[in-house]
Amino acid sequence: MSDNQKLRVSKIHNGTVIDHIAGGQALNVLAILGIDGTDGEPLSIVMNVPSDRLGTKDIVKIEGRELSEAEVDVLSLIAPAATINIIRDYDVVEKHRVSRPETVVGVLECPNQHCITTENEPIESRFEVLDEGVRCVYCDTIIREDLAAHILAG
């Protein structure tokens, strides 16, 4: 590894490193996690670095935050190859692959403008995860392409 690459993947103290995100998807991963940097947490984003497995990959490092199980599930929708490294005191204490959840709640917005979930009702959006894409539990609309474009604004 060259010094240049070392610098880019330098260690964090406590938090999460998300590796093996498909090239160019890092910002969508942050969006799906509701992380935009405004809470002041240190963030590193490395995009489009060469990867044996993916061609190019992105890496996201979030200082001071460990992802929850639900967040990891949701990640699988747009970063199915991602690996999650939980870091404590500069050490990787947990490392896992993402797995596809059966449903995702409150994360995506239904693109059907006649869907009840787009109205002012006390419910969260709910999507069943299909082999390809997701499906609104309320109106049955299927989203296959560009899931990240449907992420609910945090």
């Binding site: 006649h114 009840i116 002012n120 499906r135 309320y138």
Partner: protein
């Protein structure tokens, strides 16, 4: 019936469907026997958009079971107009009634409402989504006229937005039925319905012209092509005419063909079809009462 609510035709198994249809047949054979069956029970009507027929049919059904209705009335006089959420409205009204029927313009509204109430909720149509009680009366009519297995059915018209079509197509996958879908290309089945049919292992055959399949059909289910679905009127005129049938069209059909329509029709079935042996749409509409009686009976019994 193990279901608490009737939201979508997708939730109905073959056994569920047969239970409702068999019970509807018993009721139709001897309606008097059921006249006091649910005396004192109240059915709450929540119609957020007008639907004279579905509403009248449910009203007739509960009254013929000895019950009565409580009606929210037109939306313009209700608290909905003042901005009350649907979730709040249904939670209030469930306290007034033993079961609820809801028609609402938003897709998924019945599913959502059912998550907020404990009394049985029947979806009377949610936008372009589902209309499961219509499907049950359609199936009842098909069974009476042509049986429900070893059947070839053509479904024609607006397949994209027609909720009766979506419900029916799915329900038919429970039976040994060949389904042919006939529509303009712009009004073909939506992705979600294709997905379901595919999941159920159904083979979809799609056509743009009725002549391609008419002679092989046991049942032709016609729906209206709505002018407002087209960006411009000329485009509508171009296609609409091709999906209108009259007695002449049906000369190419089998003598046993059953022609159905969820009604109201505009001009897609000419009145000269009404006096032919094929016409079954009024019978179909009338079947709504025994079928809804059967459904209400099963749901209220389960309470």
């Amino acid at each position: 019936m193990r279901h608490e609510h009737i939201i979508s035709a997708k939730q109905l198994s073959r056994a569920d469907i047969e239970e409702v249809l068999d019970h509807a047949a018993e009721i139709a054979a001897d309606p008097e026997a059921y006249a006091d069956r649910h005396a004192g029970k109240l059915l709450g009507l929540l119609f957020f958009e007008p639907s004279t027929r579905t509403k009248m049919s449910f009203t007739a059904a509960i009254k013929r079971l000895g019950g009565d209705i409580v009606d929210m009335g037109p939306v313009e006089y209700s608290s909905v107009k003042k901005g009350e959420s649907l979730a709040d409205t249904v939670r209030v009204v469930e306290g007034y009634a033993d079961a609820l029927v809801m028609r609402h313009p938003s897709e998924g509204s019945a599913q959502m409402a059912s998550e907020f109430v404990d009394v049985p909720l029947l979806n009377g149509g949610d936008g372009a989504g589902q209309h499961p009680t219509q499907t049950l009366l359609d199936l009842y009519t098909i069974r009476e006229n042509a049986g429900l297995d070893d059947l070839t059915i053509g479904i024609m018209g607006d397949l994209k937005y027609g909720r009766t079509v979506h419900s029916l197509a799915h329900a038919l996958t429970n039976f040994d039925v060949h389904q042919h879908f006939i529509s303009p290309e712009s009004l073909q089945l939506p992705r979600s319905v294709r997905y379901d049919l595919h999941e159920e292992g159904a083979t979809i055959r799609e056509h743009t012209a009725l002549e391609e399949v008419l002679s092989s059909l046991d049942v032709l289910y016609v729906t209206r092509i709505q002018e407002e679905r087209f960006p411009d009127e000329n485009e509508y005129r171009e296609v609409a005419g091709e999906y209108q049938i009259d007695a002449g069209t049906l000369e190419a059909a089998s003598d046993d063909l059953t022609v159905m329509h969820p009604l109201p029709r505009v001009d897609e079935i000419d009145h000269d079809v009404d006096d032919t042996e094929y016409a079954t749409f009024f019978e179909q509409a009338h079947n709504g009462v025994p079928v809804r009686m059967a459904l209400l009976d099963l749901l209220l019994e389960g309470q």
